[in-house]
Amino acid sequence: MSEDADCAEIRDLIPEIAAGVAAGDERARALAHFGACHECRHELAMTADLVDEMLTLVPVQEPPAGFEGRVIARLAPEAKPRSRRVRLPRRRPARPVGRAAAWVAATAAAAGLAAGVVWWQTAQDRALAASYRHTLEVAHGRGLSAAPLKSGLGAEQGTVFAYQGEPSWLYVTFRSMPQPGHYDTCLVTKDGRRFPLRAFEAGQNAYAWGSTINVQVQEIGTIEFTRSGVTVMTARF
């Protein structure tokens, strides 16, 4: 029955739709179906409810001092003028900093935290990140490394992240789409051992590739992407 087949296909999409991560075309297809199918609509509502509840389980955390005032300062220009005396709480004004300064502040503050995994966009950021990572490693016994993934001509095609954890993994994001096709991948350690990793099938929407790894991140020398026997992209750690 085609209706059941439709339902099965839509049920498969519901978790991604409820989590807000479904692709536009899938979402559109599902919405058309929800309009006609009560059962699937109910299924979506229940799953969306669950996702909402999971968000509310996250522990509360007091924001940094002055947060409320900084938010209100951003809203104030759009607030309606008052006839009565203004009772906005007296707070420090918004930070008079540009994006670059905010970056530096973010870096300094983050260094003291059990923060996650951070990738730094510029050389300056990366220099800051070095000390940041050091702090993380000392404090938490694990770290993140990132290295640019470059083509044979030296063009930066993406970034390889190496995450030391349980399990450790590599994750590559591509800045420009690689040529579609089959790529063999290999991790080469600093002392020259080679570990083939799972192949990468580059397609139209291939913007990421990942693999778990069985070596320590600090042992990684290079990550190589090979096409038809030719190494076409390399990341050097």
Binding site: D49, L57, V60, A110, L113, A115
Partner: protein, 185 residues
């Protein structure tokens, strides 16, 4: 009662929609720890989390008018805005999620919020169910719900077929839904 501080969420949003700064202040004060907590959980840095949390309140202020109570309660609406901003920030900065295990661990701690639509038993049941999920299902759910990764991306990270990634999420969510029992739409 005492002015805006005792108003319902919906009334505060109505106040914000009419550009009332007192309503906005009360709203921020009521939700800042929740919004900042979620932002921090996702982005992992206090400074970046503050940027995300500020932006979430600015968006709530600007879109207060379009809040539709039939589509969910205010905390869920605001936290969804926060989550989406935090995910966008991670992606824009090319950052990877913090360890999904750590995140799931924080959910089962007892410090979560209290003003959801669930009663206490439901919350405890949901926490217990999270604890008993197979780790691979819990990870897949965390990567999807909190980090906004698609099934494809999860499959790539976890080095599993797409079908397996989707199955982990669907089975995991199914188990969590069971403990919430039957609730009407």
């Amino acid at each position: 009662m005492h002015g805006v501080w005792a108003l319902s969420d919906e009334s505060l949003l109505a106040g914000m929609a009419s550009r009332d700064a007192d309503a906005a202040t009360a709203f921020v004060r009521r939700y800042q720890a929740r919004v900042f907590g979620l932002a921090l959980t996702i982005v992992g840095s206090r400074s970046v989390a503050e940027d995300v949390a500020q932006e979430a309140f600015v968006r709530a202020w600007r879109h207060a008018e379009s809040y539709d109570p039939r589509k969910g309660r205010v905390p869920a609406w605001l936290l969804t805005i926060t989550r989406n901003l935090a995910i966008d920030t991670l992606r824009m900065r090319g950052e990877l999620p913090t360890d999904p295990f750590l995140l799931m661990g924080s959910l089962v701690s007892q410090e979560g919020g209290t003003d959801s639509s669930m009663d206490y038993d439901d919350r405890e049941n949901l926490r217990r169910a999270l604890l008993t999920l197979p780790p691979e299902q819990a990870r897949a759910i965390a990567l999807s719900v909190f980090y906004g990764l698609t099934g494809k991306e999860i499959a790539a990270i976890e080095e599993i077929p797409l079908g397996t990634a989707k199955t982990r999420i669907r089975r995991g969510l199914g188990k969590l839904r069971e403990v919430l029992g039957v609730r009407d739409e």
